[in-house]
Amino acid sequence: MCAMGSYAKSEDSSDEQQLEQQQKVQPVVRTGAELLCSLLLEAGVDVLFGYPGGAVLPIYDALYDSPLRHILTRHEQGAVHAAEGYARVTGKPGVVLTTSGPGATNAVTGIADAFMDSTPLIVLTGQVGTSVIGSDAFQEADIVGITLPITKHNYQVRDIRDLPQVIADAFHIATTGRKGPVLIDLPKDVTAGPASYVPLPQPAPKGYRLPPMPDEVAISQAIEAIRVAKKPLLYVGGGIVNAGASEALIAFAQATRIPVVSTLMGLGGFPADDALFIGMLGMHGTYAANRAITECDVMIAVGVRFDDRVTGKLERFSPHSYKIHIDIDQAEISKIVTVHQSLIGDAREVLASMNRLPCQPDTTAWLATIAAWDAEWPVHVVAALEDGLRPQQVISLLAKATDGQAIVTTEVGQHQMWTALFYPFSRPRQFLTSGGLGTMGYGFPAAIGAQIAAPEHRVICVAGDASFQMNIQELQTVIENKLPIIIAVINNNFMGMVRQWQQFFYERRYAESRISSPDFVKVAEAYGALGLRATTFSEAQDAIAQALQYDGPVIIDFDVEEEENVFPMVPPGKGTDEMTLMWEE
């Protein structure tokens, strides 16, 4: 967070000069809303995602003259996911602005999503005037109460004099420690009322603790355990990305020759093309990754939370390993799986300390075992169809055509798992997906935020036909902002993952999982985007090439095999070693 105004830079000028300069650039502030805008600018905000309404009219009026950029989405849920996409690409907090009542409640899914995936957000909601709060006024909702369990912290500003400190504290809380969303509720009379300029103060949230510095003694004990390991394994997650620990992780893995498995949220934190990378683990993890986690003797878990989609049946999860858990959040230690040693702190700092100690376990035999597992059931081999298109092939084609370099967002379901398995992510902040909450409707608006954050990058949203329809209204946002996003709809006429579970566990009784869609090519054309369709491998190849040439948003409707399943699969209630590799009925 940038806590300094742009004026406070010159070091050699005298105090008087500085004061003079300060007065020159000091923004005109007459209302609470104008003060809000000036504080947001000083906090380093450049763009807000939002939707106006009655209770935020004073704020929108102030935005009219403000250098702050505002992206008007077509639904508040879209605004929050777009802000999440922005945050995940930049590492900076995404900022959202909605009105009171329905505007605020429409933001709830996105806030819950950000909370589960530790994504930093500042959500500004309008509120009815202080004189009518609690009276069931028009468009009143207790959004502070509603979001208590899904925010890292939240505020209601009842007096404009509190606003500067609240803004400073909110940005600090959202972006430090385990990151997350912070909501600030702003009654209309507070933003409409008079205010004068106050610079952004230093953050000072009372009771808020930053994680401790790594404990060097514990670190050297951990290294001792790793040094004598025969089958050590790094199990890494979203914490690597959030902490900017990717380089330290690569250095550690390469120096120690310890193989790496990643959670969904960790993908990109360790390069997929590195020989030490053995893939995603968990319910749809690779065969080698799930065998490795089951049989390792020392587990080094970094920035992970032992999610149930990773562990499967707990009794069978890595039963013989000595477990070392590195995490920024003390509450994650032994929450799900009891660990033998914990290192609380920032993953980058802890790994950097570990890198300073010599550690050379002999992993030659272990790496050979893993390579044999990988050869036994390689995930990336998919039989081509003579006539038709497999969804996995689409992801591989996209990866090839973009040289594995695109920023990829997904919705939730089968296409999400195939993207995780078939697109080789090579850098952090390249893969944006809804992990914890599993929010259908996340990926498309997240791509909007990603493209705004990184205009120079190619952004692809891999969507399912069902998920895409959850926030399809944001097509107009894409058109309006001329964002050249490619939306790859993996269209199987089903909610694919629901159907897969119904096939396996409910005797193919496809209750309500078949879903119809509009003609996505015509939808694209109606909005003013390019619409393409592919039903065979070569058509898919051509469509992707054409989309990459096109200067503007594209929807490609990939007509894929309807009843393709995601494998491997750890069935619910089974252990990671009890993978299903194919389904026999």
């Binding site: 603790r209 032994s334 914990s342």
Partner: protein
């Protein structure tokens, strides 16, 4: 080991703090036997005492999760500490001419105050630990208890005792044992 847990929590005296704590306990399925809140030695802060049940792992989770709330200044699991634990109860019990003397005899060793007397009832105020109050209630029950109001336990660690900040010492898993 499953047993009673007493948490002493120092919080900012802000609107909604009680909801933050109570909401955390409810959504994570930590039970609350009693909860008390009141002013403390520092202006702008309150001390909260929560009595709950759970095994060691759950107790550690309670402390760690409560610590994450921004408005929480300090958490101590004082379950195993030498602490003074007190609760206040008001008990309204039926009393007639015939039973009044019997009840007075029961009350005597408890050193309780009779705070209200009516024609056919009396109200006593008792302060003590939970067991003492439970014992008095059991003894008064045969006479016919009309109403009871209990405050729940409030507690402070005794002089010289470890304040048990953050987690308790036994079965330390967060360190390097096991």
């Amino acid at each position: 080991m499953e047993r009673e847990r007493t948490l002493s929590i120092l919080v900012n005296d802000h609107p909604g703090v009680l909801a933050r704590i109570a909401g955390l306990f409810s959504r994570r399925w930590f039970n609350i036997s009693s909860i008390t809140v009141g002013a403390c030695e520092t202006q702008g802060m309150s001390r909260m005492t929560i009595v709950s049940h759970g095994d060691d792992a759950m107790a550690r989770q309670m402390v760690s999760q409560v610590m994450k709330l921004v408005d929480v200044i300090e958490v101590a699991d004082i379950s195993t500490q030498k602490a003074v634990r007190r609760e206040l109860a008001l008990i309204k019990v039926k009393s007639t001419k015939e039973t009044r003397m019997d009840i007075a005899h029961i009350l005597e060793p408890f050193r309780v105050a009779t705070v209200d007397v009516g024609h056919d009832s009396l109200m006593v105020e008792i302060t003590g630990d939970t067991e003492k109050i439970d014992a008095l209630i059991a003894l008064l029950t045969p006479y016919g208890i009309i109403e009871i109001a209990r405050t729940g336990v409030t507690a402070l660690v005794r002089a010289g005792a470890d304040r048990g900040l953050t987690t308790e010492g036994e079965n330390e898993i967060n360190g390097n044992v096991l």
